[in-house]
Symmetry: C2
Subunit: 157 residues, 2 copies
DNA sequence: TAATGACAGACTAATTTGGTCTGCGATAAA
DNA sequence: TTTATCGCAGACCAAATTAGTCTGTCATTA
């Protein structure tokens, strides 16, 4: 629960790799799949979705493959997530999945949960695949709550 | 993906209800299940987990039921989540689920994802079930990214 | 024109989640 | 002291989601 799917993991790994490519250089499914030990067919599907979403550019030919279509800074983790898995929502009444929620009329916790969700989406949108491949220090202020909130995270879970 | 389970939804609804009870007043599984149209047996299990986790107090008797064991302010959504579903992690390598990740040695996106996760956990810890039942205005600064970050959320997903 | 690599979708397997069924144990009121 | 109420416990099944497989087509270029 609250977990990213493997397809999203695969997408992020592949995009991170492509973000480090030279201009004009392409990566193909076979080599990415081999590098990360991902089943080739499943990575192929993931790449196709990223392509359809306009995040990457396909070069369908021998010596072809994929390259980023946008600057790495402009590809957010949220965009990747939506491209691969569709709309995101921590509760199904907020992502269009659940058309007939049994608790709809009695539910009095929807509003705060949606706010919680907005925060999560905000973070996902604020984190680009460029930052994925950079050292933690660079991320300060974006994904590290301690600097934003002025206090460290002491997670007691 | 990234979705709360129904068991967690049920737990939050029940806890929110109990948070509004008078001192000494108890709610039993049957009445909560009826109110929210939740299968009684499944809510029973959820309540038992909350009880084992020390979040609520059981009164095993006729006219018995459950009541909060801690002040509503001290029961965080994260505690509820962990009580009902176990450790939370957006990637399985960070919650102990995945013992033999195939990408472990090549993975170069783990660190930023863990930071992302820490933020999510921080929000979940910062939101109490007391706040769940209050009007949105009260939540400003805790779960509303716009006030914390000084800019509104324009979610382009 | 053959080799490479993307495109496409049906299909199966595995895992997680949601829900059911059955019986036992504790307590207080009748 | 019996009995109805309500929590406790765990095996079990069903549905949904996720992961992975199989098979084949289409586009490009060397």
């Amino acid at each position: 629960m609250l977990k990213l799917t493997k397809k999203v993991d695969y997408a992020l790994l592949a995009l991170n790799l492509m973000a480090q490519n030279e201009k004009g250089e392409v990566s193909n499914v076979r080599e990415i799949a081999t590098l990360y030990r991902i089943p080739q067919e499943i990575l192929a599907k993931v790449m196709q979705k990223l392509s359809k979403a306009g995040l990457i550019q396909s070069h369908n030919a021998p010596k072809g493959g994929y390259s980023l279509k946008l600057p790495a800074e402009e590809i957010s983790v949220l965009k990747v997530l939506v491209a691969v898995e569709g709309p995101v929502g921590i509760v199904s009444c907020s992502d269009g999945t659940d058309k007939e929620c049994q608790q709809m009329d009695q539910c009095d916790i929807r509003s705060p949960l949606e706010r919680l969700q907005n925060n999560i989406l905000w973070f996902l949108e604020a984190l680009s695949i460029r930052e994925l491949g950079q050292e933690p220090a660079v991320l300060k202020g974006v994904t590290d709550g301690s600097s934003v909130f002025g206090q460290p995270l002491h997670h007691k879970g």
